[in-house]
Symmetry: D2
Subunit: 426 residues, 4 copies
């Protein structure tokens, strides 16, 4: 294989491996769902003989999923899904696992990034696990010969599902994919709580600024936006929401948030967080209205939400003023600070460790049972995007509640009968 | 017609009419959506020639919907959907309208209740507007001959939709019904904010008790339960949630609420609010564990959630200790206080005025455009339960935002294109 | 005695007495502190031989305090401290108690109001219990001969303490008064939670409006204002705070509230709640900027915060549009709705039951032990305003925690020693 | 001088200086109060000729205070107030300033720590600025000859003020000290918002764990505890509070938190944060009840709150599992994770940057005007602990509001007169 694995690229792979191993162990200790799944998968080996290609943010939690899939019998080839989000030590620790090959490396350029994706495909995968859709894209564009032997795949993110659905609408998606992002479990916990908490703690630790009394502008009031807005309010920020969908705008308004167009919010905000999944959410006309010293961060998948090209055109100078903070100075002296190059702030900031461990535990629990489902029942799914079967999602919730020691009620026969009946009156 | 209208039943109908008229005027002033809809409907008369039967909580806000439908050209016959929730004065004010006949009266017995429902059907309705499904039931059971001329109907509540779906699954629903309850607008605003706020303020005003420092047990974490839990937390209560669905239980747990089975919650709670839509949520084994002086209220549609028969069997005495509060004394001296006979507390408590005006404005805005849709395009819908078309729901959201002076962003062509594309990379 | 007691003034005193008795019983059941205090006072009779004059809001909770003081051996004469806040039935139930005479009656005019205050003083009180300071005023102005035999008194409210301190600064206060309002217990629980919750539930139930999505302007960010703001935010309102003290303004800003002058807030608000204790908080220049349909309510002690004279001058008409809601129509058609004549909305609205039971339980627990303290150790206090001794306040907190079943930690000897030491290093 | 300055101790002082300078510049840009103060002090040189000794957490924000005092004309000698909290690069940047000597270095042992404190005293200070009281201790114990020429000092923390008051009560404090910690500005903003936000973001970033759904035990419900509890609730944690003071316990209970003794909380918690200022808050009996995997952090000044000696005695092994996380394994396999050696987590964790910039801006604004006050009016203050004069505190609030663009109301003459009067009736 022409592309080098991470261990082949490092100066001191052993030191990296040990550091990465410690991180993976910590994560696994705090991932009760994966621990329960690993126990079952390790005993039953449901993925025996499968080859799994993964393109994900390679850090400690993802590594646990990767290893659990390997423990289930699969051979795994993994790379990053973002040029800045890989932890090299974790990547090395994975690569040191006999059943796993890791090509993920931090700060690769675009060519290296796509070469690594292709390297995973040279393993002839039968299952793909994607975070953003780059693997599915590459297969359809460059490795169509793999499609026949692929039983199916999973997609982790809103953005990736969005791309897959667009592809599916065009009739272009040629194998079945689970939209893991769209499960209740994933949306509520990962997007709301995971993105919400991690975005804010990364902004806080990168800037040393606080939220109390600040005006935080949240662009987009989907699940991620709701999380960021709720958690920012919980830190005593004054939250302003921008939206393009009237019902989402109304929902934010009814929650008590200030809602206005970005052109107006630009003048009010101290800190801006984009969560829309769309491009050009903050552009020239907004930069022009912002106050001196504002902080801009992106919590959406791609770095297209804040238009840095337009900001660069406006700026008379740009420089790094802190690790992970680039200051653009405008000709009137105003300074606009952009975190993590406008990339996903909770994955690309210098202090970033990604989403919290437990949140990813839930999300990856679903991934694991979805991969098992594709392997065991892939024939049952046509090419295209599929919702995660309700019972798989429910299974993971039950594992989690059991792990947390939370009990809940059952339904009596009379109650089941009542729920299904329609003759009862007032 | 054998059944008497409300005006025929009152001692002083004119005084009632004036009192009701004042209430309706206040409501209409604070219903900007209905005001906008009335303007359009009054000009265009889209319901000309239709006969609408309604079974709803007859109070000021519903009266505004009723009158707007009449202003659109329809003849309307209305009755209550709950034996305790009618405001006689509002009913009288409606009945005094030439285009409207009202049979709704407070504190009717079961026989009178159903007689009034039948009376509305004697008007040969072409459209039905239901809150709980009693009208649809009565038509299918007792007036099947009406079905051919009915173009369709709307159902307001979770419970009613539940009944209709069960009926539909049995192939028994013979005309098209919009599940108004299931729209984003309805669920989020009416259920979450409406039920949430109104349940608590009714409990507070009926008992003169406060929430700060109290343990409030919320049974059910659907939309209504979320609203009650969120608002109770917002009044500094300690909130305990009970659930039967693991993902809802987990969602509540992740929000920070204590989650446990009712058998355990029964020992912890000071105030209990049921929101499940199911029966027997609080039963004998729970009463036996409750502390002296607890308060029980129901925010679900039917009075089956708290099993009062079992409580009565346990009690050595029962008496009204305040308006709307019945105290059951157990043989060990513990006292259990039940509000509003276990009926929907925000509609049946002595101080009850139902959901807040603005919340019903949103809900009834959807009802109004749905009735128009059934009249104009009823042919397009098969017999069965239908989701409200997305554009109608969106239309009402836009009316509301405009009325509140809230502006929001649009999408550029590039953004629309981006949202629909799938070739963009990392 | 020339002034009639309440029973002498009622048409059907027995019916009133029974209704009032039921209300008092309900309150007492939910007042665990008073229950514990009553047990002790009833056994020890610490107030034997004392005569207590009280001017308070005469409703069920106050009645419990009144009766507990009587059970402790005192003769009590009581009247209202607000022309609109008396519940006649409760007043009648008290008056029927042999040890108590009640002159309190709802909707008295100014002359009757002050005559009733004087009537209580004709009983030659040795202790006074005030809510607003009217009793102390009347004694100093009209009954100075009583001062020598008065051992001391208690004042319940911020406003009353304010008046007493001003009087004390002038050297005009001639007997010792406990500033019950200023205790941690009173301020935090009564002002923050009591006023906060009760103001909002009264506004909700008087208007049938909701808070979600509304802009609520809170004038004043003292303890009452904090409570109203926090609870309104907890109901998903967008809260705007106005202040005159820069540190309080900054505190509100740092909590995440919008802070601005009233002239600006007037344009933003849907609902206004005044809590300042000062006059002319909302005046002509503010009425002129308000939107059509705004709701104005006062949660401060006196009806001077909203300048109704100026509003009346601006209005072309005024009429009652709901019980407790007066609409002022301006010449440009805008309507301004004032609740409860601008009097304390949680005491004077038509549905008002005053502060929640448990909150008053705490407040009156302090009153009770303070009255005992004045009787037992009044000599120890000079004429003037005194803080409640810390141990009395703490005693009541411990009673409350015990009643709620809440345990807390003690300090070890080492910890006590550490807290008192200063030689420990880093 | 025998003790080496930081620059004399570093291998590459120039690199350190540049890194530190960038951090200081970022901080100063986000400290509008210090910017305004610096403008005034730089012009008027109120500290000309003074020598200031400082013992504080030496990082970017403190550096801004240090430089502003130097710009005001003073010579400044500074060292750390905690062996782990110094940022060497910031210390170097300060030391490079001609008017400033810095002895602060990270990870010094106890001997070096106290030697550095003594080194600052060799500069013969006339003013002391303390954070924990070590400077005042050292002067009274080892450099009493300095006392006559010292005009006064400031103390930043609760703990330090506590030590000073104990000293004052013993008659042992021999020069005037301002209790900066006790001002409304300091307590509310620094303790509540600063400690609250920074503790949680440091815990999140050190552990990669989240708060949603976690049980967070907060020991102590003073200002710091309130901040931690409020912000943890705002991140959807379930919060349990422990207290030793009944009124504080009751306050937490009334806010809706679960309150119980630590022995009970130990069994419930996932994450523990101590904020009491006392020793032995978490000890052997608590470790024995904790679940596997709990995380312990301290937000109080000294590392005495979690008794690590007792934990070490219980443990069969201890090892670092992540940067800043030490795992103690007990003999039954349970693992207890302690952050930052039980030192102040927001200052001593590996990712720590201390309190947020703006919060320290407020706190240091007060410090600056207090130092000016001591120099200008020190004669007016006796030896002992003094509250910060109200007008200084207010002055800083006004500067902050002006910088944030927040306007507030003034009082009319009539309102001032009303507030001071006492003849107004009901």
């Amino acid at each position: 294989m022409s592309h080098l694995t991470i261990i082949e690229q490092l100066d001191d792979p052993e030191e990296a491996r040990q550091s990465g191993r410690k991180k993976i162990e910590w994560a696994r200790q705090h991932m009760p769902i994966m621990t329960a799944v690993a126990e079952e998968f390790g005993a039953e080996k449901p993925l025996d003989g499968e080859v799994i290609a993964m393109a994900m943010h390679v850090e400690a939690k993802t590594a646990v999923l990767t290893e659990v899939l390997a423990e289930a019998g699969a051979e795994v080839a993994i790379t990053g899904c973002n040029p800045l989000s890989t932890h090299d030590d974790v990547s090395a620790a994975l690569d040191a696992n006999d059943a796993i090959t890791s090509y993920a490396k931090r700060e690769v350029d675009e060519e290296e990034y796509y070469a690594a994706i292709q390297a995973t495909l040279e393993h002839d995968p039968t299952v793909t696990v994607d975070d953003g859709g780059d693997l599915v894209m590459a297969i359809h564009e460059d490795y169509p010969e793999l499609i026949d032997s692929i039983v199916g795949g999973c997609e982790e993110t809103t953005t990736g599902v969005h791309r897959l659905r667009a592809m599916d609408d065009d009739g272009a998606l040629r194998y079945p994919m689970f939209a893991v992002n769209d499960t209740p479990m994933k949306r509520l916990f990962d997007n709301v709580h995971g993105t919400g908490e991690a975005s804010l703690s990364n902004i806080a630790m990168t800037t040393n600024l606080s939220f109390a009394g600040k005006t935080v502008v949240v662009a987009g009031y989907g699940y991620c936006g709701k999380g960021v807005a709720m958690k920012a309010k919980g830190q005593n920020a004054h939250v302003v929401v921008t939206e393009v969908e009237p019902r989402s705008a109304l929902e934010a308004h009814m929650e008590g948030y200030e809602v206005c167009p970005m052109a107006e919010a630009a003048e009010k905000g101290d800190i801006f967080v984009t969560t829309t999944g769309n491009r050009d959410v903050i552009v020239e006309e907004h930069f022009e209205r912002m106050a001196d010293g504002v902080v801009l961060a992106n919590a959406g998948h791609f770095n297209v939400e804040i238009n840095l090209d337009e900001l660069d055109d406006l700026a008379v100078s740009r420089r790094e003023v802190r690790d992970g903070v680039e200051e653009f100075e405008l000709d009137d002296g105003r300074r606009i600070n952009v975190l993590a190059d406008g990339r996903l702030v909770n994955l690309a900031s210098p202090v970033a460790m990604g989403h919290p461990v437990e949140v990813m535990d839930q999300s990856f629990g679903i991934q694991a049972v979805c991969v098992r489902e594709m392997v065991e029942n892939g024939d049952a799914y046509d090419a295209g995007v599929h919702d995660v079967p309700d019972d798989l999602d429910r299974e993971v919730a039950e594992i989690k509640l059991a792990a947390e020691g939370v009990e809940f009620d059952g339904l009596s026969d009379e109650q089941v009968e009542y729920m299904g009946s329609w003759q009862h009156g007032t």
